[in-house]
Amino acid sequence: MNFFTRKKSATSAKERLQLVLVHDRTDLTPAQLESLKDDLLKAISNYIEIDPDAVQIGLERDGRSQRLVADIPLRSASRHRAG
């Protein structure tokens, strides 16, 4: 990162704090969150076919509460059958 494209320090402070506070508040390390995602996808895959590469799961802040937000696109059943 060179001098001209470098982010101003307050911006990095805020971004870093946003991440750290979410993990502090939920008492969940990034590694634990990853294994939660894996388990979640495994469980869902037992019932429906999903596209693992398009899955987005993360923690979001809403004021002082956190939520686990998952966007899990499903593979189209009809297309699958046709194929």
């Binding site: 101003k8 320090s9 307050a10 911006t11 402070a13 805020k14 870093r16 704090l17 946003q18 750290v20 506070l21 502090d24 508040r25 802040r61 004021g63 002082r64």
Partner: protein, 265 residues
């Protein structure tokens, strides 16, 4: 009278808790309120020296708890405001000499004939902090616009919510508006967005705070100080008055006057 018991805490040390307590107490006393301050930092007392009362200590809060003196005897009267008192911390004991129920009992006795009881919490989230919040009607969390202070403040807010102490109010201390303008310091909006609690005041960084501490005369007594004005405004808000937040971009002193004259501000 039934006093409001206010605890000032922060998680991280060195963010300005003691300074805030001394200044808010002085500002409330200037408004004619009867105020009792309690130094909750057993073993590391400092509120006495910031308030300029270190030479008057005879008894401390542990003497009261252990029955060596009456509560009134441990209340040191201020030099300038006869309606303002300090109950000092013990210097040679540890935090276990005080329990949360001791604090509740002492505060209930003080509630009867004062307007405000202000407790200076020690840093951290252990026994001393638990003691300091036990009797609080209202908690003020002090932070600086800086990563470690904001992170620790968030932990404290989480504990206060878990303990059902209600949502605390936030004091953002030592904000440097020139750095904020340059996007090299978290702004008040950033800090509020991160912590998600209500703001009660923003105190600009101001050299006169240190000068006040050096003299044992808190900065609110300096009519020209911007930090002093910020603390006086917070004291008004504690009394339920609606005071607008001050314009942080306004510079004080000669340079500010020149900028205003030349229309730069």
């Amino acid at each position: 009278m039934t006093a409001q018991v206010i605890t000032v805490t922060s998680g991280k040390g060195g963010v300005g808790k003691t300074t805030a307590v001394a200044n808010l107490a002085n500002a409330l006393a200037m408004d004619g309120k009867k105020v009792v301050c309690i130094d909750g930092d057993i073993g590391l007392r400092n509120l006495d020296v910031v308030m300029g009362l270190e030479n008057r200590i005879v008894y401390d809060i542990v003497d009261v708890i252990e029955g060596r003196c009456k509560l009134k005897q441990a209340m040191i009267r201020d030099k300038h405001y006869p309606e303002m008192y300090l109950i000092p911390a013990a210097q040679t004991r540890d935090k276990n000499a005080v329990s949360p129920s001791d604090m509740v009992r002492i505060c209930n006795d003080l509630r009867v004939d004062s307007d405000f009881v202000i407790i200076d919490s020690p840093a951290g989230i252990e026994r001393g902090f638990r003691n300091a919040i036990a009797a609080a009607d209202r908690v003020l969390v002090v932070t600086n616009p800086e990563v470690s202070a904001v992170r620790d403040a968030d932990r404290v807010v989480g504990i206060l919510e878990a303990e059902e102490k209600g949502t605390p109010h936030l004091i953002i201390n030592r904000l440097n508006q020139a750095l904020v303008r340059n996007n090299d310091m978290l702004s008040a909006e950033d800090v509020l967005d991160l912590l998600g609690i209500q703001l009660i005041g923003i105190v600009p960084e101001d050299e006169s705070v240190i000068i006040g501490s050096n003299r044992g005369a808190p900065v609110v007594t300096d009519g020209k100080s911007r930090a002093g004005l910020a603390f006086r405004n917070i004291a008004k808000r504690l009394q339920g008055l609606d005071v607008p937040f001050m314009d942080l971009d306004q510079q004080s002193g000669l340079w500010g006057a020149i900028q205003r004259l030349t229309g730069r501000k």
